[in-house]
């Protein structure tokens, strides 16, 4: 085991310090050490998008980022996007469109869609589909998800 490194970040607007080994992924740190279990481990190799978070304004797969790389960065996870009492418009639209079944992929889809709407508040259907190509869902089929995102445009 190599020495733990002290990392200082901002997560969902709050300053957060943690210790981690260089080999720990940001996803492992979020879930196992910081109790932010919204980001999910689907594939652990960059293919499914269930672990997606926003890092310094960019969408990234947190399983393909080392925790130590987060030093000095601002991170937004699904926990920072809405709360049960105060749903984000994307979350509301996912409910209205029944855009989820088991829900494992959902945090990743919502974080990814949030990153899209932050950059492009009025995307076309094609733009939504290409942007979300790195998010996989085993249950629902993509149509309802795409419709939910389209319906959340401008409202987000």
């Amino acid at each position: 085991m190599s020495k733990k490194v002290h990392v200082q970040t901002t997560i969902n607007g709050e300053a957060v310090d943690f210790l981690c080994e260089p080999r720990n992924s940001l996803l492992e740190v979020l879930r196992d050490d910081l109790d932010h279990t919204g980001a999910k481990e689907g594939c652990n190799n960059g293919n499914c998008g269930a672990c997606n978070v926003i890092m310094d304004g960019r969408l990234v797969n947190s399983c393909c980022v080392l925790g130590v790389e987060a030093d000095g960065c601002e991170i937004t996870t699904i926990e920072g996007i809405g709360s049960a009492a105060n749903l984000h418009p994307l979350q509301q639209k996912f409910l209205e469109h029944a855009a989820l079944q088991c829900g494992i992929c959902t945090p990743g889809f919502i974080v990814s869609a949030k990153a899209l709407l932050d950059e492009n508040p009025n995307p076309t259907e094609d733009e939504v589909r290409y942007w979300l190509a790195g998010n996989l869902c085993r249950c629902t089929g993509y149509d309802k998800i795409v419709r939910a995102v389209l319906d959340a445009r401008n409202g987000a």
């Binding site: 085991m1 080994e21 260089p22 990234v60 797969n61 393909c64 980022v65 790389e69």
Partner: protein, 290 residues
């Protein structure tokens, strides 16, 4: 994942010292979209990960219509296609930068990492070859330059020696009446590894009726991305016609030495090489006319 140390040098010189001290027991981290997965799956081992993203030269991105384009080796894809001027000047490179993985991967994945990973199917490598890209390498003996087509030597292997790393990639300014194009064939629409990928760049005569010069490169059909010099040379001085383009496509097909795997048989890949080369040269011609 096995344990390793992590370092963030802030200068090229510091990185060279760290890499030289550790030799084969160190590796460079850019976007990590290949490396972190390879370490996790025990396909690679290392004692030290040297994150080069804090080095200014590795993050530089600059374009000048006279001197061309310089891309720091760690600049992620989204920054490259996100620059409107660069995207307009190098559409052939954007074809590839926009299709590496999905949005999350493009937030991190660099052209430098794609080249140094040296996959035969690395999507950005054929377009970098046809745009006459040059790699600037730093090491214990100073810096040296290597043409992108000479950079990969075998699957996962490059010309980099112990202690050396890639600093930046340079591309000459686009000439008048020139165009470039990259396309790959995959069974899905997105998020897959190329069965075959082809890049082409062309320079046309002032009246756009003939080729002044052309460069063609093919991915996923040989142990390294393949520069097919003779296919481009066959177009030089020839009229732009179905017949001349078909001949270049046949030369690219003949140069291909593919293997059979789950993505396709060798025979299928050869056929695809010819079809894609034809379409990609036509695409490059179209852009040269725009």
């Amino acid at each position: 994942m096995h344990a390793f140390d992590y370092a963030t040098p802030e200068s090229v010189a510091d990185a060279v010292v760290m890499l030289s001290d550790h030799g084969k027991n160190a590796c460079v981290l850019a976007g990590g979209t290949d490396l972190i997965v390879q370490l996790r799956e025990n396909r690679r081992r290392t004692d030290l990960v040297v994150d080069v993203k804090k080095i200014a030269e590795l993050n530089a991105l600059s374009y000048d219509a006279a001197t061309g384009l310089t891309i720091g080796a760690a600049v992620p894809c989204y920054r490259i296609y996100g620059d409107a001027e660069i995207a307009a000047a190098y559409p052939g490179l954007m074809d590839a930068a926009r299709l590496v993985g999905g949005t999350g991967i493009q937030g991190r994945a660099s052209l430098g990492g794609n080249l140094c990973n040296a996959s035969p199917a690395g999507d950005t490598i054929p377009p970098m070859i046809v745009l006459s890209g040059e790699a600037e390498i730093a090491g214990p003996n100073g810096t040296r330059k290597v043409a992108v087509e000479d950079f990969c030597t075998a699957p996962g292997r490059t010309v980099l020696e112990d202690g050396e790393f890639l600093v930046s990639l340079h591309f000459p300014a686009p000439l008048a009446n020139s165009g470039a194009f990259y396309r790959r064939f995959i069974p899905r629409n997105e998020m897959d590894i190329a069965v075959v990928g082809v890049g082409a760049s062309v320079v046309l005569s002032g009246d756009r009726s003939s080729f002044v010069s052309a460069r063609i490169a093919v991915g996923a059909v040989a142990p390294t991305p393949l520069f097919v010099r003779e296919a481009g040379e066959a177009l030089a001085g020839q009229p732009v016609s179905d017949e001349t383009i078909r001949r270049a496509a046949d030369l690219a097909r003949d140069a291909a030495r593919p293997i059979s795997d789950m993505r396709g048989t060798a025979e299928y890949r050869k056929h695809l090489t010819s079809v894609l080369t034809r379409r990609v040269v036509e695409g490059a011609v179209q852009r040269a006319k725009e």
